[in-house]
């Protein structure tokens, strides 16, 4: 399946993928939408990353998505690449699958057999692997609209501007009466898929967010995660060892730092302009 082709075309050029058939979703009308449907923002299969990046609706309704998409590669890539395509590609280090997981996004899978919806939590099964069958397309992804008192943030560290991150963190939290009443945190770069940092969420949920609590949450980010082997496929941007990547211990420490930064920013935003 070809949407923008910014992941699949490099794989074809490098002969990493040799599909017998290639179906271009591009010419299908009416799949390039970005629209609000009640309490959800819905992004269609062929909506370009640059369209989402520059949408005032997205910035106002799902600020985490707007901030994460800015970190995807460079403008010429975002002019072609699609939000849904990047999520469907399911790189374990990419921004958008991680943001989708933190936002509890819901994916609509479509085939000639019918339609089914899958939560982001169940969608990713490993590096470049998902529950989507080969006859299914991801027709759209729904993101919940941020409510009052909600602050969101994306934070990542990459070796060069526009590169995939070593690790990154997506945070959405809601503050009421000085306490964090709801929080979700997802990290990329430290497992074979984007993962929720449940232990960190548990530290924050119900807490008054002072600096010490945020530190404890950040420290809990990678607890329970199994270290990845050196040269781990999940740390690569394409399904091949193209270049050396930092080891797991370093990526884990970067992930903890990004959680600290993203939680701190999200808290400021939750208490600030909303």
């Amino acid at each position: 399946m070809l949407a923008g082709g910014q992941s699949l075309l490099p794989m074809l050029n490098l002969r990493l993928a040799e599909p017998a058939h290639l179906v271009d979703l591009g010419p299908i009308p009416d799949l390039g939408f970005v629209r609000r449907e009640r309490d959800r923002l819905v992004v269609g299969a062929t909506a370009r990353q640059s369209a989402v990046e520059h949408s005032a609706d997205v910035r106002a309704l799902v600020p985490l998505l707007a901030e994460a998409v800015e970190h995807v590669a460079h403008p010429p890539i975002r002019h072609r690449g699609t939000v849904v395509g990047s999520i469907a590609h399911a790189s374990a280090v990419a921004e958008l699958p991680c943001a989708a997981l933190a936002l509890d996004a819901r994916l609509t899978l479509l085939s000639t057999d019918g339609v089914r919806t899958v939560d982001a939590e169940e969608f990713f099964t490993g590096p470049f692997s998902t529950v989507a069958r080969s006859d299914e397309i991801v027709a759209q992804v729904e993101f919940p609209v941020a409510g009052p008192g909600t602050g969101q943030a994306w934070s990542e560290f990459s070796l060069r501007r526009g590169n995939f991150p070593v690790a990154g963190a997506a945070v959405s939290l809601t503050v009421a009466d000085g306490r964090i009443v709801d929080v979700s945190i997802a990290v990329c770069g430290v497992a074979d898929r984007p993962v929720r940092a449940r232990a960190a969420e548990q530290v924050l949920r119900g807490a008054v967010a002072d600096e010490e609590t945020v530190e404890r949450a950040a420290a809990a980010t990678t607890s329970g995660l199994a270290p990845r082997a050196h040269g781990d496929l999940a740390a690569h941007i394409l399904p091949v060892s193209a270049a050396p990547v930092p080891g797991w211990a370093y990526r884990a420490s970067v992930a903890r730092a990004q959680v600290r930064r993203a939680v701190t920013t999200a808290l400021t935003r939750a208490g600030g302009t909303r």
């Binding site: 082709g5 050029n13 002019h79 692997s129 399904p239």
Partner: protein
């Protein structure tokens, strides 16, 4: 090497799946319309360079990293090495050959690259010029930092970028003066 895509399910006989099948496309390149028949797997950069003999667009990494294959597709910079020609069907394509107003006059951006020595080997230059053109269209008075951020999509192995930023700033000033 691992390919994770499963083999696709068989499709009906009414769908032509021979990779050598030619697909009719129409693309307008620098104002000239071309009706072509291309293989589904053919890259836009190969159509431009080999079929249309517009060799100003270069091929570098073939994986969307370096930016030397940059062209403008319906006005926006894209990597022509990771765009299939069939995806450009119906599109307006601008290449470096379409930037200068005529054969004896340089575009102000090209002139600024010339004057500020914004190139050495020249391999990245077509992509850089097209990218700078888009950056200046979006923001006619960028700061040096904004130019650096904007051209971070394109690699140059000679200049260290300093003179390219100089050229972009000079071009912005010149174009403001010319009112262009």
């Amino acid at each position: 090497m691992t390919a994770t895509h499963e083999p696709a399910a068989p499709v009906g006989t009414d769908v032509d799946t021979d990779p050598a099948t030619l697909h009719p496309i129409t693309i307008t390149v620098n104002g000239t319309e071309h009706r072509l028949r291309v293989e589904g797997r053919r890259l836009l950069v190969d159509v431009l360079r080999q079929d249309l003999r517009l060799t100003g667009t270069h091929t570098g990494c073939d994986q969307g990293v370096c930016g030397v294959c940059t062209v403008r597709l319906d006005g926006r910079t894209v990597r022509s090495c990771i765009t299939l020609a069939v995806q450009a069907d119906g599109a307006d394509v601008r290449t470096i050959e379409g930037v200068a107003p005529d054969a004896s006059t340089l575009h102000p951006i090209q002139q600024a690259f010339w004057e500020k020595q914004g190139l050495q080997c020249g391999f990245c230059t077509p992509g850089m010029v097209l990218r700078v053109q888009e950056i200046l269209e979006e923001n006619p008075t960028p700061t040096r930092a904004q130019v650096r951020e904007g051209i971070s999509s394109n690699l140059c192995r000679c200049t260290g970028y300093q003179f390219i930023v100089d050229a972009a700033i000079e071009a912005a000033a010149q174009m403001a003066e010319d009112g262009s």
